[in-house]
């Protein structure tokens, strides 16, 4: 899967590594900002101060 993504990325190896890092950062941001806050009530008990 990741190898497939890596193969599909254009440019020389270092450009691909940079691209992957940018994609990773973007994914992390979406997770931290949107997905995890949404998922928190399902992971924890409903009222757990």
């Amino acid at each position: 899967m990741y190898r497939w993504i890596f193969r599909r990325l254009p440019g020389p190896t270092w450009v691909r590594i940079v691209s992957l890092a940018i994609i990773g950062a973007a994914v992390t941001w979406v997770l931290f900002d949107q997905v995890f806050p949404w998922a928190e009530p399902f992971v924890n008990q409903p009222t757990s101060p």
Binding site: M1, Y2, E40, V43, T47, P49
Partner: protein, 234 residues
């Protein structure tokens, strides 16, 4: 270009499992670390907003500022206010944790990410009945992390726009999460008519029990100058 070797099922499976593991670890990192970073920022912004709304802080004591403690960021200009801010809490013994901590109305997960929350329907500041306030023990700024290290007689001060309300703590109790009677008016015989209940999760990193502190109303003052009880601490 490297030779396009065929991607096997096994490789896909290993990637999926690794991704799942990474997601779990990232969630833990988010909850245990990042929510605190965010909450610190939100608390500071709210404190600034409140003090700004209330007018310039008074006197050289500068208590309302509290800015010496945390790295306070610029006031949240144009930031949308989605929580109801009611006041600020100061606990001298927990000086580095609960000092200018926003008190919001309500105790939803969202509310508690913005401060400590006053239970809906509980008494107002200094009011008759039971003023019940909940806060996180871990994550989201963990304002009540050290609630267990308070002592009987400790001061809890609440600042509203026009007044200060001073409470003193009486007793600590460990109860079950469903024991909501602890936040009711007159939860035990001979309870003060104007009382305070602070609650948080117990034990640390668990939601199995609630740790609560009961306290009683001591006095209020209608000027914004720093109460004597807080001067000792600073």
């Amino acid at each position: 270009m490297s030779s396009p070797k065929k991607i096997t099922i096994r490789e896909v499976l290993s990637d999926v499992l690794l991704t799942a593991a990474a997601l779990v670890l990232m969630f833990v990192a988010w909850q245990q670390w990042w929510t605190n970073v965010e909450a610190d920022r939100a608390y500071a912004a709210q404190e600034q907003t409140l003090i700004h709304d209330w007018g310039a802080p008074t006197g050289p004591d500068g208590i309302p500022g509290a800015s010496t403690h945390r790295d306070h960021h610029k006031p949240a200009v144009g930031q949308q206010r989605k929580v109801i801010l009611e006041g600020l809490m100061y606990i001298p013994r927990l000086h580095s944790n609960v000092w200018g901590t926003p008190i919001v109305y309500g105790t939803s997960l969202y509310d508690l990410a913005h401060g400590v929350g006053r239970y809906q329907g509980s008494a107002g500041f200094g009011g008759y009945g039971n003023l019940a306030i909940a806060g996180h023990r871990t994550t989201h700024g963990r304002p009540f992390r050290h609630l267990d290290s308070l002592h009987r007689g400790d001061v809890v001060a609440i600042r509203s726009q026009n007044a200060w309300f001073i409470y003193a703590l009486d007793q600590l109790k460990i109860v079950k999460p469903e024991d909501s009677w602890v936040a009711a008016p007159q939860p035990y015989p001979g309870a003060p008519t104007r009382m305070l209940t602070l609650s948080t999760c117990n034990p640390l990193h668990s939601a199995k029990q609630r740790l609560i502190w009961w306290g009683h109303f001591v006095r209020s003052q209608s000027d914004a100058s720093t109460p004597v009880e807080l001067r000792k601490a600073t």
